[in-house]
Symmetry: D3
Subunit: 275 residues, 6 copies
C-alpha cells in the first residue's frame, strides 16, 4: 500500500545514489553473485530489520534476504542478524543505506530498553516525545515500541496538549480547557501541562483527560498522584535521566516521557560483510 | 529555487501537523501576537539557524525572525539565539519542528568542533562519512562544515571508492583501479581502501587519486605517508575517537574521517520561550 | 504553508484545463479586463468563499476578488456573494472550477443547517461521519462546521471506534476495549458501537470513553442516557432523517451523527455573471 | 500504467488512514481471516465495482474480491454485489473508502438511468456537463456512461465552446467563431451557445460545428431543429429536469445536457457486512 | 499558476545542479554582481526568451532579465537578445540550462520559418506532428507557432485519427469511422489517413471531419482536392522536405504536416557572455 | 528501483495520452491481438531499445517485446529491430512514444559513431557536453556511450570546471584554482579552461587535475600537449566538426568534446508496422 516508509527508503536511496554506484558498476562484473551477512558488532536491541530488507528489495527484488533474528532480539557482538544472497552490485548498493536505518533504529531501541529495565518492578511506562528526527518520526516511534516503550501519540493534530506557552497567552488552565472542549471533536483527548498541585487540581476540575507534571519533584508528584487518585492518567516530564527514573516512578505516576530516546541516541555498531 | 531542504522542511511540518495544531487553534485567539526567543540551554556550536527561520517562514511569512547569532557561533547557556515576533499560533506551530532541526544540527557542529579542536597544531583535516541520517545528509554535511569539518564528497555516484568488499570480488587493487579508470568519466577521482603498505604501493602504482588507510596503526600510517610523499592525499579511517586523534594526526595523514560526527551525536539543548 | 487544499485546487484546475482554455484564449483579447459577480440563485447557506477566491488567485494573482458575504451567511436568490475584477480570460478560466467547489460546499452547509435548526431547543449536537467524498473530506468537514455541525473527528488513525464488524471477530466488547487500551497511545479515545442497554453497560464498565447507540429506538436511547448519567458522551447513529430528529434528541443523547450531510446533498445554485 | 484513478484511490486511502487503522490493528489478531459481502440496500444501478476492488487491492493484494454483478446491473435491495475474503484487518481498512466511491458512482449511474429511461422512444441522448466534483471528473463521467448517458467531452482545453460571457466581450457570434477558427488547431470543434433562432442562424453561417440551445422553449428549439436540418448537432441545455425531458426531446434536438447528473445525486445505499 | 513548463524548468535545473554549482560557489565571492548578455551567433528566429528568463527567475528572483528582442524576431549574428544583471553565481548557474532551452526552441522556430517561407503565395499551412521530444511537446509546439506553423492539435486523447495500422485491424474506413462516431463525444473530430482517391471518397462518405493524404503524389492530391471541393480540410503528409513543398501546395491541400520540424532540427547558436 | 527514466517514460506517456487513446479504444475491439515489428528505415546505430520496450511494458505488461538487435548494432534500411505481440490497443498506444525515444537516441548514437570513426587510429576519445536536451540528459549520455563516445561527467555539482566567465570575475587562474581546492571536497577534480600556452602552464602549476584547450589551433594544442607531457589529461573544445577532427587529434590531446552530439542530431528513421 501507499506508505510513507516506502517513500523515505526511496528518497534515501536516491540521496545516496542519484546516478548509480559508479564504483561497483565499473569494477564488479554485472553477473557476479555474492553472499553477505549483517553482523552485530556490539551489544544492544535489534530494530529495523524489515526496513533493511526493504532497502535491498527496492534495489533488486531478486536479492534473497533471510532474517536470522527478529526486531526486539538482544544482540551480542558477533551475532548474525541476517544473511543475504544476490547480485553483488545490488548488495553493495544497499549496504550503507540499510545500515544507516538499522543502526539508528537499533540505537533507539537499545536506549529505550535501558529506561524500561530501569523501571522493573513498577507499573509506570516510558513514553516517547515529539523530539524525533524530522521526517523519520514513524520509524523512530516504532523503534521505541521495539525497545518496550509506549508511544505518546502526539502530533499537533492528534491531541490537545495545553502547555506553558499556551497558558501565558490564555491566562488560566480552566479557560484553556473550556475553549478546547468547545472547539475540538468529541473524540479528542485534552492533556494539560502543570507545575504544581494547584494547577493539577484546576486541570482535573476543568475536565482534562490527562495531566503532565512538568519538572516537579518526586514528592510533589506523589501529592498529585494521591489527589488525582486514578481518575485520569498522569505523566512525568522534564529532562529525565536513568539515575532519577526509579525515584520518579515511586511517586506512582502512570507515565514518564523521555525526549532523549529519540534525540540523543548512539547508532548501534552493525556491519555488512561479504563472505 | 527548487531545493531539497524546502521539501524536507515541508515534509517535517506535515509530519507534525497533518491537520493543523488543534491545541493552539482552539485555545489561542487567532489575532493574538506574541514575542518569543530561541535560547541556548547548554554550551555548544550553533548550526541550522536558517533552517529554523525557514520553518516559521513556511508556516507564516509574516513572522519576524531576527537572528541574534550566526551559524558557527559559540553558545553559552542562556544565550539568545534569535528573537521572534508574530502570530501566536504560528509561533506555536513551528516551535517543535524548528527546534528538532536546530538541536540536531547544533549537536553535530558541536561534536565536530571537538574533533577539529583536537587537531589544533596539525594540518590534518576532519572528514565526515556517508553514515548520515537517511534523507538529511545535506543538512548534516552542512553542520559538519559549520563545526569546522571538511565534507568527504561522497555518495555512490560521485567518486570511485574501492573497498574491501569490492576487492574480495575483483581480486586485486590493480585490476579494480584499471577497470574503474576505463569506465568512469575523466572527471571522477578514484580512491582505494588499503590495510597495509603493500596495498598502498599497489594502489598508487595503479593510478589511484587518493588512498584510505583503514584501521592501520599510527606507525604503519607513518610509513605510508613517508612512501607516498605527497603525491596523492591519504585518509585515515576506522572508529576514530577523540583520544586517538592526535596520534593518528602525527603520522602525517591529510584527512581523518569520523563516522560518529553524524551517526552518534547528542542534540544540543535549545528551547523556545514566549515572553 | 503546504496545504492539502492548495493541492486539490491545483489538481482541479489541471483537470479542467490541462492545456489552457482554448475558447477564451482564442476569442478574447489578452488585455481585456472584465467585471463579474458571483450570484446566489436559490436560498441557502454560503460556504467555500475562500476556496473560490483561491481558485482565481492561483490562475492569476492580479484578479481582484472582493467578498460581499462571509461563509455562514444566509443567502437569498439574487444576493451578490462576491465581485471580481481582472483579466477576462482569467475570470473565464476559473468560473467553473470555483463554482464547482462553492456550490458543493454551500450545499453541505445548507443541509447541515436544516438539521441544526431541527434541534433548536436541544443541547444535542449534529455530527458528520466518514461518508465524505474521497479526497475532499477536509473541505466537506469545514462546510459542516459552517452549517453549524460538529465534526466527528474520525479517520481510521485518529480514534478507536469498535464497530459490529470488529465485535463479530473479537467476540466481546470487554475484550475489544481491553485490547485497544493496551495497544494505543494514552492520548487516544475509545468509542464503542452498541445496539442495546446491556452492551452500553458492558462498554462503560470496560472503560470506553464514548458510546455510539446504533439504530436504537428513542426509548432505548433514553434508558442508555439515564443509565450512563453523564459519565461519558453518547452518540445516536443510523440513517437519521429530519423527521426523526427531535424524537431522538429528546432521549437526551449528546450527539446525533448524520451521514447524508456529506453523501447526499444537492449543490446550491450559484452562478458567475459578467457585467 | 500511470493512471489518475490510482492516484485518487491512494490519496483517498491516505486521507482516511494517515497512520493505519488503529482500531482494527489493536483489537483484531493480525492473522485473522474473514469473509464479507458488499450488499445493495436499495434499488439502483451499480457503478464503480472495479474501483472498489482496486481499493482493497491497494491495501492488500491478497484480498480475494469476487464480483457477483457488473457495472450497469440493476440492483434490488438485498442483492450481493461482491464477495470478499482475506485478512480481516485489510477488509476493515478498505470498507469505508470502497463504499464512499461505490455509493457515489452508483448514485450517479442511477440518476442518469432515470433520465435515459425518460427518453425512451426518442433518438435524443443525455449529455453530462463540467459540473463535476473537483478532481473526480473521470470517475463521474464513467458513471454517467454506465447509466447510459453520453459524455460531453469537454474540459476547457478540449473543444471551443463560446458562451454568453464570451459573447458579452467579443460582441458577435460571427466574430467569435472566426477568431476561434483562426487560432485553434484544425482538429478542434467549435460549439456556440445561442438563445434564439437568429443566433442559431448566425452560428451556423459562421461555421460552428455544434450548437447549444440555452434555456429555449421547446417550440423555439423545434424551429432551430427544422432550420438547421441535420447539418450539425444541436444540444438543449438549462436546468433540465425529468418532468420537462420528453417535451424537449420532442423538439428533435440531438442532445440534452443535464448538470444535476453529477452535481446533485444521492449516494446509493450499499454496505459491507462481515459473515 | 500550476504549469507544466515550471515543472520542466525545475527538473532541468535539478538535473544540471543536483547539489549546487560547486565551481561558482567555490571561486566567486557570494556578493559579486555581474552583467551579461545573451547573444545570437548565427542567423535564425528567436523562440523561448520567456523560458530563458524563467530559468533565471527560479534560481534567483533578484536577477534582472531584460528582453531586447521578442520571440519571432529575426536574429543576425551578433544581435543582443537579452541583458542580465544580478548575482554572478546565479547567472553562472542558469547559463547552460537557459541556453539549452533557448537554442533548441529557436532551432525549431528557424526551421519552421523556412517551411513557412517556402509556401509564400499559397494558402496552405504548415502543421507539426506528434514526433516531438518526449516531455517537451508543449515547448516545441509553441516554437512551431513562433516560426509561423500551425499546431496539429493531437495527442492520442484529443482527436480521432484513424491510420493504416487501425485499418489493418478494422478492415474498412467506413466501419472504423462509424465505430468512432458512436463512441466518442460529439465534440471530437475524426480524421482518416488515406492513400488513394477511393479511400478519400469512402472517408468523406463515412462522415470524416478531416482527411490525411499519406504519401500521395501531388497529382493524386489534386484529384482529392478537386473531389472533396472544400467540404472538409485535407492534410498532406509523409516525409515532406523543402524541395517538394511547393509542388504539394500547388495541389490545393489545406495543410502540410512536417515531422522534421520537431524531430530533426539543429540548435541555434546562442551564447551568454559576461561583460 | 526508483529511476528517473521510469519517471520520464511515464511523463511522456501521460503527455501523449492524458485520457487514453480515443481512436484505438473506439475502433479496435478490446480483445484484438496483433503482431508488429519495429523496422529501421535508414542506416545508423541502434540505441534505446530497452527504453522502447519499457514504454510498452508500462502500458501493458502482457505485451511481448522481443529484441532482434541490441543497442550498438549497425542498422541497415529494412532491418527488423524488434518483434511485438500483444493487445492491439496497447501496441497502438505505445507506438509514437516508443519511436520518439528510439529515433532520437539512435540519432545521437549514429552521429557519435561518425565522430568516433573519424578518430580511427588515434587514442583520442570523443566526449559529450552539458548541451543536452533538458530533462533527458541521462538518456542522451547513454546514447553517446552506445555510439562509442565517452561521457564528460559533468553537471554543475560534479566537478569544478573553471571557465572564461569565472576568470573574468576572479582575475587569475591560480587564484581560482586555489579557492576551489580549499572549498571543495578532496574527491572532486578541478578542470580549467585555457586559451593559450601560458594559461595552460599557470593551470598546471596551480594544481589543476585536467585542462580544456578552448578554440586553440592544432599547433598550439601540440605545444600544450608537449609541455604537459602526460601529467594530466587535456581536452580540446570549441565547435568541433568532422572535418577538423583528425587535425585536432594529431595534436595528441586526450579528449575532444563535441556539443553537437546532443544538440544537433537528426532522429533516425524507424517505424512500427503491424503485420
Amino acid at each position: 500500500m501507499i506508505s510513507d516508509i516506502d517513500t523515505i527508503i526511496e528518497a534515501a536511496l536516491k540521496e545516496d545514489m542519484p546516478d548509480g554506484d559508479i564504483t561497483s558498476e565499473s569494477v564488479i562484473p554485472p553477473e557476479s553473485i555474492s553472499r553477505a551477512i549483517i553482523l552485530a558488532k556490539e551489544k544492544g536491541i535489534l530494530a529495523g530489520i524489515d526496513v533493511a530488507a526493504c532497502v535491498f528489495a527496492k534495489i533488486d527484488p531478486h536479492v534473497i534476504f533471510t532474517n536470522k533474528l527478529e526486531d526486539g532480539s538482544m544482540l551480542s557482538c558477533g551475532d548474525t542478524i541476517a544473511c543475504l544472497k544476490g547480485n553483488s552490485i545490488s548488495l553493495l548498493k544497499g549496504e550503507r543505506t540499510a545500515l544507516n536505518f538499522l543502526q539508528r533504529m537499533s540505537g533507539i531501541a537499545t536506549l529505550t530498553r535501558k529506561f524500561v529495565q530501569g523501571l522493573e518492578g513498577f507499573q509506570t511506562r516510558i513514553l516517547d516525545t515529539r523530539k524525533t528526527t524530522p521526517v523519520l518520526r514513524n520509524l523512530e516511534r516504532y523503534a521505541v515500541q521495539v525497545g518496550g516503550g509506549t508511544n505518546h501519540r502526539l502530533n499537533l493534530s492528534d491531541m490537545v496538549l495545553i502547555k506553558d506557552n499556551h497558558l501565558k497567552i490564555v491566562g488560566s488552565i480552566s479557560e484553556a480547557v473550556k475553549r478546547a472542549r468547545n472547539k475540538v471533536a468529541p473524540s479528542v483527548k485534552i492533556e494539560v501541562e502543570t507545575t504544581d498541585l494547584e494547577e493539577v487540581k484546576e486541570a482535573v476540575r476543568a475536565g482534562a483527560d490527562m495531566i503532565m507534571l512538568d519538572n516537579m519533584s518526586p514528592e510533589r508528584m506523589k501529592e498529585a498522584v494521591s489527589w488525582v487518585d486514578g481518575r485520569i492518567p498522569l505523566e512525568a516530564s522534564g529532562n529525565v535521566n536513568l539515575a532519577m527514573l526509579r525515584k520518579i516512578a515511586s511517586s506512582g505516576v502512570d507515565f514518564i516521557s523521555v525526549g532523549s530516546l529519540t534525540h540523543s541516541y548512539d547508532s548501534l555498531d552493525i556491519s555488512l560483510e561479504f563472505r
